[in-house]
């Protein structure tokens, strides 16, 4: 599987609309057959006049862990947050270029971020469970999205998938805030995957955790990639090397290089990447 930094604008294949009208994304459809799940096309994100992400074009492939690395402030979190439109909550943010989910423009006028976020889940830097019971943390998302199956089974399944079930099965109705930081983060992963999303966006999910909890999350990410597409933002290069199949390196808002993780860490194509991964800056 090869990955390319796309410079020419790719032709849109599935939109028979007029060239000016952006197609309204319909996220309720089944996923397309394509391997490319998310693609950005010369995506620029500004906060006011500051360009946090500059003309980034990259693809996220299905059932892969794509790591985005780079020094603090390089725009990697901003890029991640355009993929489920969590940037919408930042005042003064503006987006140019396109971000496509199965070919549908996420920022098209008819695109509904609420519907999108059910299909593209997110795990945050600091564990942020709701101040409610473990069970209700997981069940709330499916409930508001009209889940019609058996909720108890869904909660159990999500907790098993996130390797938390054995630790919490006897205290499902206790407060989630009583869990340790690592357990809370796995609960947040369980909460996200209970919605059966296609993509999991992870924004430095281990940066607030100790090394043992980090190792457990990394193992979990490795298991999750068989069922989900994972995009992982990390400032930890070892982590990117350990868990990802594809690595993208960003620097000062630009995508410097993207490719197979092994290649990136052994034979980087760009001297800046070389400097960063050898620890010369960042």
């Amino acid at each position: 599987m090869t990955l390319m930094k796309e410079t020419p604008p790719p032709k849109q294949t599935n939109t028979p609309t007029a060239p000016h009208a952006r197609p309204a994304a319909d996220f309720s459809d089944a996923p397309a057959a394509s391997d490319v799940v998310i693609r950005t096309d010369r995506l620029t994100v500004r906060y006011g006049t500051f360009e946090a992400v500059k003309r980034v074009s990259m693809s996220v492939l299905a059932n892969q862990v794509t790591a985005i690395i780079g020094p603090s402030g390089c725009g990697k979190s901003t890029l991640l947050r355009t993929m489920n439109r969590m940037n919408d909550f930042v005042p003064g943010v503006s987006v140019d270029g396109r971000a496509l989910f199965h070919g549908d423009d996420l920022y098209a006028s008819g695109a509904d971020p609420v519907a999108l976020r059910r299909r593209i889940g997110m795990v945050f830097q600091k564990p942020n469970p709701f101040p409610k019971s473990i069970y209700r943390n997981i069940a709330w998302g499916p409930k508001i999205n009209g889940y019609r199956g058996n909720m108890d089974e869904l909660v159990e399944h999500a907790l098993k998938q996130s390797a938390l079930w054995d630790e919490v099965k006897d205290k499902l109705h206790n407060s989630a805030l009583a869990l340790s930081g690592g357990q809370q983060q796995r609960l947040c992963i369980a909460r996200a995957i209970a919605l059966q999303p296609e993509v999991l966006l992870m924004d430095e999910p281990c940066s607030a955790l100790d090394p043992i909890a980090t190792a457990r999350i990394e193992d979990l990410i490795d298991e999750l990639k068989s069922r989900f597409t994972v995009v992982l933002v990390t400032h930890n290069m070892q982590q990117a090397a350990r868990v990802s199949g594809v690595t993208a390196f960003m620097y000062m808002g630009e995508l410097i290089e993207v490719g197979d993780t092994n290649m990136m860490f052994t034979k980087p194509g760009n001297p800046k990447t070389q400097d960063y991964i050898t620890g010369r800056f960042g």
Partner: protein, 294 residues
């Protein structure tokens, strides 16, 4: 750098002395407030204790027989006023706070509204009385009813309720909202299921403190024409009323010292009501902190 110890004139004794002086001064200032309150309670209790009885709470007031006079109509008048104020000010105040804090865009209009709500909290209560007289008594023709009084007090506490609720809502960490949005929740679902419950203890505390202010208010009720002698317990929102502070004022206006004892007893009842409302607010705050930790 070797002689750095000589480069500082620390003047420690003098600095300690100044620190001690200020600590003593602030202690004295604090004690003045506490002492005044203590003197008030002791003198009122001494004067009113003998008049305090079950009869005092159940009998209607009287201008002729102080030995049989009670607080019954004023107590229930105050309860009616408080009830109406709760029913009106909580939904309107909390609703307004949710709108301003969660939904409103930050533009010139909403900034103007926010600033003016803060200003309204500082408007003297007599002004609310004039407003209530013009709008509820005259224009809406509710007359000098307990409804007019309750609505006027609602207007009075509304800014405080809105400000306290907004602060409670703003105190809910953004990470909770982001967690909900990331699960595909709409704004209302997020507010309803997570933000409001998290802010509720703070909102309740603010509402109770605002209400205890309303309970002690006299001026706006006097403006409404509530300074009347009323012996009947209100039997509906449109009936005449009196309230505890008004009744206390009435008794103090009588020349005989027996009525002054009744006024003192009335003050004890009102202080008891206010202090238990404040205690409830403190209890809710403590309960919230315990829940956060568990």
């Amino acid at each position: 750098m070797t002689q750095s110890a000589n480069m500082f004139n620390t003047r420690l004794p003098r600095r300690r002395l100044v620190a001690g002086l200020f600590a003593g001064m602030f202690l004295a200032i604090t004690l003045i407030g506490v002492a005044v309150l203590a003197i008030l309670i002791v003198s009122v209790a001494g004067e009113g204790w003998s008049s305090l009885s079950v009869k005092f709470l159940t009998n209607p007031p009287s201008r002729l027989w102080p030995e049989n006079a009670g607080l019954n109509s004023a107590l229930f008048g105050t309860l009616w006023l408080t009830g109406i104020t709760i029913v009106v000010s909580i939904p309107v105040g909390v609703g307004g706070a949710v709108y301003l804090e969660e939904f409103a865009r930050d533009n010139r209009l909403t900034r103007l509204i926010r600033i003016n709500i803060a200003n309204l909290a500082g408007v003297p209560s007599v002004v609310y009385g004039i407003l209530g007289l013009a709008v509820f008594v005259r224009w809406l023709n509710f007359d000098r009813s307990v409804l007019s009084g309750g609505l006027t007090l609602s207007l009075l506490v509304l800014p405080v309720v809105i400000i306290a609720s907004r602060e409670a809502l703003a105190g809910v960490p953004p990470s909770i909202r982001h967690a909900a949005y990331a699960l595909g929740a709409t704004k209302w679902q997020t507010v309803r299921a997570h933000v409001l419950p998290a802010a509720l203890p703070g909102i309740i505390t603010g509402v109770i403190l605002a209400l205890s202010r309303a309970v002690g208010e006299t001026a706006p009720l006097i403006m409404l024409g509530g300074l009347t002698f009323c012996t009947a317990v209100p039997d509906g929102p449109l009936s005449d009323f009196t309230a505890m502070p008004i009744q206390i004022y009435n008794w103090l206006d009588e020349p005989q010292p027996e009525f002054h004892h009744l006024a003192a007893a009335g003050i004890i009842v009102m202080l008891g009501l206010l202090l238990s409302m404040n205690a409830l607010a403190i209890g809710i705050r403590a309960w919230k902190q315990r829940r956060r930790l568990s």
